[in-house]
Subunit: 208 residues, 4 copies
């Protein structure tokens, strides 16, 4: 392997390890030693390649949110109906979360702590994501397909469900038998089935 490739490989492993540890433990709970261990590298490499713990965390955050917006946008055909577009947007969010299993944990903690590490860059990522439902709803209203409603509220309901579904999973598993039958049913459902239901509800809610 070339030197440059070795370096990139090291950086990649550090970021991946860091992502998993930050997701599990949060920023304060994460141990740099543990990150190095999972990366299979010496701890000093982290400082050599990336920087201190905060820089590392920021890198992880950015690598997570960096291109979600554009990825989803890319999947929406310009000539689709607003209803179809909305479905693609919801599925896009679901796919993103499926692809980035650490995203919900990191995002929820980050928000819980006031988003202190959400840089301008990441804030723009968020704005880019939010603009998707905003545009779809506007188009839908103009075409008479949707009622007028606030896209951010809708977005928060959809994303809120997905993240709660994801992150409550261990608790639901653990306390399975204590929960009412309806929840138990949900427990056996995959997230994609849940997403289908969300889709149905959202469309019912906003159809003109």
């Amino acid at each position: 392997m070339e030197l440059r490739e070795k370096r990139d490989e090291s950086v990649r492993r550090i970021l991946e390890a860091a992502m998993s540890v930050f997701a599990e433990e949060g920023y304060s709970g994460a141990r740099v030693d543990e990150i190095a261990k999972r990366a299979g590298l010496n701890k000093a490499m982290i400082y050599y390649r990336i920087g201190d713990k905060l820089v590392l965390y920021t890198e992880v955050i950015h690598s997570l949110f960096g291109d979600i917006g554009s990825a989803i946008k890319g999947n929406i055909p310009a000539d689709a109906t607003p209803e179809e577009k909305l479905k693609i947007y919801i599925r896009g969010l679901a796919l993103t979360i499926a692809d980035h299993p650490y995203l919900p944990g990191i995002m929820m903690r980050e928000l819980a702590s006031g988003g202190g590490n959400i840089s301008e860059l990441v804030a723009e990522d968020f704005a880019s994501i939010l603009s998707i439902p905003a545009n779809i709803l506007t188009e839908g209203v103009n075409k008479g397909a949707f009622i007028k409603t606030n896209p951010v509220i809708l977005h928060m309901m959809v994303v809120g469900f997905m993240m709660f579904f994801r992150t409550t999973e261990p608790v639901r598993k653990r306390y399975f038998e204590r929960l009412p039958e309806d929840v138990r049913i949900l427990n056996e459902k995959s997230i994609s089935e849940g997403v289908n239901e969300v889709e149905r509800l959202v469309l019912r809610a906003i159809k003109a």
Copy 2:
């Protein structure tokens, strides 16, 4: 003040201080020194009165989720229509969050870390809360008012919105001008206005 009263006052102050610190910093990020400082008490008092950091955290969690379910239930008249009951349930959740400003942060972090500190007791609290929409939906379906849908999904969408609305506030404030107009409008809205909209959407979504 009597000795007993002094003791209770100390405990109260410790728990309150702990709640605010845990909400802001998370379990690992919270410093016992900081909790003692905010409580206006000596650090050793925490160990004397409550126990170690984990015991303290568990106390805080339980005091947060302990009686949410029964409080909401108590506000729902047996003879209301399902639609009215659903509104009361949604408002009940909103009021709870308004009353416990630290709840969203603590809950989101707790879920993010796999709910390791959600004891059986708290799990039962959750089950109790979930049973409310479950019962309302069942009643609504039986009366032909609602379509059949999964109450947990609904709950997660509603609670998801509220918690995200709450916790994204600092970020929205900070990056106000970068966000699309729709978000800016939301920014100036109170949570109660947001809740009204959620109510409207949810009812549209499930009305038969």
Copy 3:
């Protein structure tokens, strides 16, 4: 022992230990662990009582130079002749160095590194010391006893000798036999004998 006394005793021991370690190893070379060990205290006590390494160093510096000037001044009778005053000043410097065995090492290192830790406070200490020979020389010139000369140059020659005498001691001891006879003689001399000679030379140099 009272609590307050215990605290003061701890602080005293930390400062003393720190002084010896800084003198031997310099700022960078000094290990906080070693300081704690010599103080007979836990390392965390240093941070609890004083602060980080730099704060500790600054405290040490100030405690060293804090009241040298006033101490020497206090020993000079107003009605003494300039010549007598000059002798007292030289002896005062010598006594100070004898009383503070770590002073030469710390001062020489500090100067070598550009005096970055010489605060305004310490600079005033220096100014106070320098004003002593300045005043004596001026008085001597006015009374026709001394020739006109620069007091700082004189001071640097005197202090320079004392510090070099002190700090070259280990080297002189170590390489004893390699040195010319004159040095060997000096080696066996006490510093006070050396100071006598300096006194004699200085007076010969400046007497009118």
Copy 4:
């Protein structure tokens, strides 16, 4: 450039860089990275060409003190008067220090730390230097020109002044306005003017 020349050039740059860093930071404070950076070379080169940090330091020390003695001796004509010889010796020291701006810092630190890195070789360098004033004084006494005095004391006064003058410069500059007028005058003087005054004082002190 030939390979050999390149090598020599590398070694030269390393030594020069090392000297400046050691002078500024001391042995412990000096970072090998910084030395490599100033030398404009890769860090591994230092180990390849010179050796570890201690070897490097020793090289620097020796290159500093190596030929001071013989250089000064070479400037003293055998037929000069003792008084003239003494002047040449003092000026020789001053020139040496002027030529080696890093010498005072390194020497003062080295002495402060007990001269642990002053090897036999360097000790002989010192002995060689000390023999100069020793011989001059002896000759002067024999010729009835000088009183009998200890040459090492004289040497320490002279060298002490020069090194203190040099190393106190930053502090004097920094706290200029706080100092008494005499010091301010000295501040504006060049070292050569200071040396003239030292010369005058020394000769007055020892003239028979």
